[in-house]
């Protein structure tokens, strides 16, 4: 029951594409991540996923269309829908998704797959 200051937590994140857990509620995780570059195309079989822009601009690409996300904007990716995130510049993003969600979903990637439970 202590507040979390997003800026303080982002300052601790060194690696791109490695979401860190900053809160847990109702079986869901609040995660923070820094993105830069192109992520891998993937989907999550059983999890919907929310991306909220905090700093910088990035894209959430679907096979059908692209959403450009800036600070104060979010998009929800429903389960089963293939997507990837792309950031030309380093961006800071808040994610909301079920506990245990793997960042690369159905894909096991040698570099990009991150542990789902890293707490900050």
């Amino acid at each position: 029951m202590r507040k979390v200051v997003l800026a303080d937590k982002f300052a601790e994140i060194r690696e791109h594409w490695r979401p860190c857990v900053v809160g847990t509620l109702n079986g869901q995780h609040v995660k923070l991540a820094k993105f830069r570059g192109d992520f891998v195309w993937h989907h999550h079989a059983d999890e919907d996923e929310l991306f909220l822009g905090v700093r910088g601009h990035f894209r959430v690409e679907f096979r059908t269309h692209v959403e450009e996300i800036g600070p104060g904007e979010f998009v929800i990716v429903p389960r089963g829908v293939e997507h990837r995130t792309v950031a030309e510049e380093e961006v800071e993003v808040l994610l909301f998704e079920p506990v245990g969600t793997r960042n690369t979903g159905n894909v096991q990637h040698a570099v990009l797959t991150a542990p789902p439970y890293e707490q900050l």
Copy 2:
């Protein structure tokens, strides 16, 4: 799979203390609300609740302590914990909580209790 711009949605909110649903995922709602004044003390028997500050400063008061929340800061109120929100100025707040959560929790309030499903 279209983005939501928080500022656009907040511009549509006229009433204080009346959360509006702007997203649904994994059985959870993303809600936006404007607070001003003192809310009623209450708890939620079965729901944890997250308050993320978007504009302005407000307090989340517990019986044990108070958290001051500004933009880019959040606090999670665990189920069963009595709390109230207080805003000296009008503030804009994002909430994450399970579908069906009533804003006044265990309390039925003639003025403050809002319908849990108002979609914006």
